[in-house]
Every structure is written in C-alpha cells, then in structure tokens.
C-alpha cells in the first residue's frame, strides 16, 4: 500500500515534470522494465488529462454563471415571452420579412412619386388643339371668335370650340386627326382650303395613340380625286427633311424641319420628335417627307422646348385604318404600296397638290 502511494507520487511528479534528470532516467528505466508501472503511468496520464478538461470546463461554467448574474433575465424574459396576442406573436415571428416588405412598398411608392414628380417638373406635354373663344386670347383667336358668332348666331357666345387639322385617308371622305381635338365635342365640322364646311362624325377613336377617324356625312361633299401621298411603312431616320401643313389659323400654314429624335415625349416610342415650329391648331396635321410619304401626325409639343414637336408614327395610322371596315374606305384609300404622286415635285407644287386633302377640324 505504502509502495503504491509512493509509486503514484513518483508517477505524478514524472508526468508533471517535477523529477530531476537522474530520477527521471531511473524512472524511465523502471517503466521500460515493468509493464505494470508503464500501464499505471498511461492511465494516470489519461486521468490527469480528464481532470484538466474537467477543471477547465468547471472554471468556464463558473465564469459564465458569473456573467449570467449580470443579466436582467426577468426583464428580458418579460419582453420575449410568448405574447398572448396572436398579432404580436406574428409580428415578432415575421418581423424581418414584414420589414423587408414594408421597405419595398415604401421604396416603390417613393420611386413612383419621384418619377411622376420629375416628369412633371421636366416638361409638360402640350396638346396643340386650338382653344378658341377663350377670353385671354391673341388676335387670331378673336377673329375666329367673331366668325363663329356670325355663322352660328343661334349658339351661345361663351361656348368653347376647338380647332385642329386633319387629312384625308380616302377619297370618299374619311379624315384622320388627333383624338384630343374632337374629344368631348358635341358636333364636328371640317373645312377645306376653299373655305367649304362639311359636317363630319367620328367613326373610330384610339385613345392609346391619340388617333381619331372622322367621316364626312354631308350630302354636299363630292369625292376627292386620288390621294397624292402614301404612307411610309418604315420608321424615318433622324435628319430626314419633313414638313407639315396645318391650320393654326384660318389659312393653311406650312412648317418645315427634320426628324430630330426617334422617340417622342419622355421616350415615347410611338412618336417622333420633329424640329418644326408648330402652334395650337397644328394638331392632327400630316407630316410628310420630300417624296410625299406620310411619316406621322403632329400631336403635341414639349412645354419648355421651342421649335420641337411630337408626331405619332405612321404605322399607327395604318393600325387605325385597319380597325375600320375596309370596304367603307373605298378603292382609292391611302395606301403604302402605291407610288406617291408628290415624288420628285418641288415643294410649292407638292403643297398645291395636298392642300385639298388637309382640312381644318372644328369641334363644338
């Protein structure tokens, strides 16, 4: 027993490195010669290691418990305990998801608002229908005002009327113009370059592209001779010379310029931007190129930029024409495949030829 205890002491001192060199050597000799001693050393080594980890874990646990006492467990538990209300439970459970969703909604609202706001700030689109009978008006409007009063004496003076431009798309009296000119009007008239007025009615409207097709329903109207211009099927390139004939006043006015951008108002791909000075009343006027091909329809201009206008692309004219029964347009309708009669003519001759096909639109 006594020996065993001494052996244990030596083993421990050996393992802890407390023996001096001589004792060390002697013990190692003993260890080699006696398997039981060697076994005891190994098992004690294992035991000491276990004790070490045990001690370490115990110290760590004590340390953690010490830290734990510094935490206000009661207070935390009170706020984190499952709440009796389901709503609060749901909120806590999905807090992050709800936060993400909410911030997404806020973000999109802000961006929508800012987009609207910036468009508003940048430029406003001014439609070019001519508002007549407005009290604060220029001389031109006043002249028209008087005339209207003369011709339609039975109508009240303060009634608003609008004027614009339109052009024939068939010889039997179909006229294409902007929808915004005739929108909300009670009665519609067109007036040709000779000053003759015909009653028309609206047969087709396309609010998306701001296009309306009118039909002359007046028995005094005699068919036109064949349409001199054709529709351009392709889109026009920037820089192409174009011109328009319109009725910003009672006589036809020519405006000439070029296609300045392939897109219209804030990137609207259904329109061109053209560098032509236009005025109220030009709306609905045809935009033609040098060869007498219809490139588009004047529909508006940017509020802040001078000398620019927007024109609806010609392919939407085709779309609108397809929407009405083909028989009713008659044989001599506006088409894409015929050769334009205006091709190769001087501008003055061209105007002479097309002026009978461009009408002033009057909406009451």
């Amino acid at each position: 027993m006594r020996n065993d205890l001494e052996l244990d002491a030596i083993i421990e001192d050996y393992l802890l490195g407390k023996l001096n060199a001589q004792e060390m050597e002697a013990f190692e000799q003993l260890r080699l010669s006696d398997a039981t001693v060697d076994h005891k050393v190994v098992s004690h080594k294992f035991f000491l290691a276990s004790m070490d980890t045990f001690a370490e874990q115990l110290r760590l646990k004590e340390q953690l418990s010490q830290i734990h006492t510094e935490i206000d467990v009661e207070g935390l538990a009170a706020t984190l305990r499952p709440h009796p209300s389901r709503v609060v439970q749901l909120w806590r459970k999905h807090k992050s998801a709800i936060a993400v969703a909410a911030s997404f909604v806020v973000l999109s609202l802000v961006s929508i608002y800012s987009i609207q706001h910036s468009t508003q700030q940048a430029e406003r689109y001014r439609q070019l229908s001519n508002k007549v009978n407005n009290a604060i008006k220029t001389q031109n409007s006043l002249i028209r005002n008087i005339k209207h009063n003369n011709t339609t004496s039975d109508k009240p003076n303060n009634q608003n009327s609008f004027g614009g431009t339109g052009f024939a798309i068939s010889t039997n009296g179909y006229i294409l113009t902007n929808l915004h000119i005739i929108n909300g009007a009670d009665s519609l008239y067109v007036q040709n370059s000779k000053g003759e007025s015909f009653k028309v009615k609206s047969v087709y409207t396309d609010p998306q592209n701001d296009i309306a097709i009118l039909k002359i329903s007046d028995k005094h109207f005699s068919n036109l001779s064949s349409i001199p211009y054709t529709i351009k099927r392709n889109t026009s390139n920037i820089g192409e010379i174009v011109y328009t004939l319109g009725y910003p006043k009672d006589d036809a006015v020519l405006g000439e310029g070029y296609v300045s951008s392939k897109n219209g108002f804030v990137g609207d791909t259904t329109q061109y931007q053209v560098a032509i000075s236009v005025n109220p009343g030009n709306s609905g006027g045809p935009v033609l190129d040098n060869n007498g091909n219809l490139v588009g329809i004047i529909s508006g201009k940017p509020d802040q930029t001078e000398g620019a206008a927007f024109a609806i692309k010609s392919k939407y004219i085709l779309e609108a024409m397809r929407a009405i029964p083909q028989d009713s347009l008659g044989a001599n309708k506006l088409s894409t495949n015929k050769k334009s009669l205006l091709s190769g003519l001087k501008r003055t001759k061209q105007i002479e030829k097309i002026q009978d096909y461009v009408f002033m639109i009057k909406a009451y």
Binding site: L5, L64, I67, H68, I71, D72, T79, L80, P82, R92
Partner: protein, 188 residues
C-alpha cells in the same frame, strides 16, 4: 439594459481572437450579446429561463471549445452558429423529455451543427463521469482533490487548511484520495 447589451455586440473576429487570448472581457461581451436571442427561442418553445440558461451556456461552451481547439472555420455568422447549436440542444432535450416538438418557432436562420453538438456530448459525458466520481468520493477527499487539481492550491495551503501536522501527511492523504477517485473514475 437591453440597449447596452445591443451596443456592445462584439464582431465575430473580436470574439475568436478574444477567446484564443483568454480574454474574459470578450467572453462577457459574447455571452451578453446573444443571450436574449436564445432566451426568446426557448421561452417561445416550451422552455423557461432556467432551460435557456443551461442551453445557452452549453452552446457557448461548444463554441468556446471549438475555437480553442483551433479548427474553427467561420462558415456563417457567429450569431447563426450559436443559434443553430442552441436550437439543436434544445430540440434534443425536448425530445428526451418527450415534449411536443411539432412546430418550432424560429427567429433566425439555422444551419447543420449536429456533428459539433454530438462531439460535445461525448466530452460532456466524461465531464459528468468525473463530476459523479468526485461526488462519490466524499469529504474531505473531494475538497482536497478539488483544491489541488482545480483551484491549483499548493500542498502547503492544503496542509494548513485541513490542519495536517506536516505536508507529508497531507500528501499521503491526497494520494489515498486520488487512488480512490481513480478507482471510481475508471470503473466501467
């Protein structure tokens, strides 16, 4: 309290370096940083504050040992790691007590930590074994062993504390105790 807890959340790097350097301050910060998260999880999944304390301390010990072992690779945020470990431990405890584990209310992302938890359980088994061996030892042996091996008291101190006439007597007593302890510990 809550605010001061949140404001002192240490970065993951700070924690790892701190633990490797035995920084008590880091351990303190780490413990306080994520306690609320685990408490919330336990409270909302059929547990109470004491369960939370046990589970959380076990989780921290697992992390601590893993970092100390030097093979800790941070494949996620520490927060996620601690949460996953504590979640795993709690689920095991729940199923051991055959309590309901059907729908677990989660508050954080979770990733697989089964291996770490099982490794820890093995270690913990030897810890429990040593603890019970010490408990079986009886006084004064238990205190002598604890004082010498755990609290690192010298034989001189122990001799004075227990009123032995000289250190040799104390030493003899210690080795007697040690022999008994080893006997109990190595019992299959």
């Amino acid at each position: 309290m809550n605010n001061s807890l949140k404001s002192s959340v240490p970065t993951d790097r700070e924690v790892i370096l701190g633990i490797l350097n035995n920084s008590e301050d880091t351990l303190n910060k780490l413990y306080k940083a994520y306690y609320a998260m685990v408490l919330q999880f336990i409270l909302n999944n059929n547990g109470d504050e004491d369960d939370a304390k046990d589970v959380y301390q076990e989780g921290i010990i697992i992390l601590y040992n893993k970092i100390k072992a030097g093979n800790f690779e941070l494949s996620s945020k520490l927060k996620t790691y601690i949460y996953s470990v504590c979640r795993r431990i709690w689920l095991k405890k729940l199923s051991l007590n055959s309590k309901k584990t059907g729908s677990i209310t989660d508050y954080e992302d979770v990733f697989a930590v089964e291996e770490d938890v099982e490794n820890h359980e093995e270690k913990d088994a030897s810890f429990v074994k040593m603890q019970s061996a010490l408990d079986h030892l009886g006084e004064p042996c238990k205190t002598i062993i604890q004082d010498f091996y755990i609290h690192n008291l010298s034989m001189q101190d122990i001799c004075e504390k227990f009123g032995y006439t000289n250190t040799d007597n104390a030493k003899t007593q210690k080795y007697k105790c040690l022999q008994r302890l080893k006997k109990i510990f190595f019992q299959p």
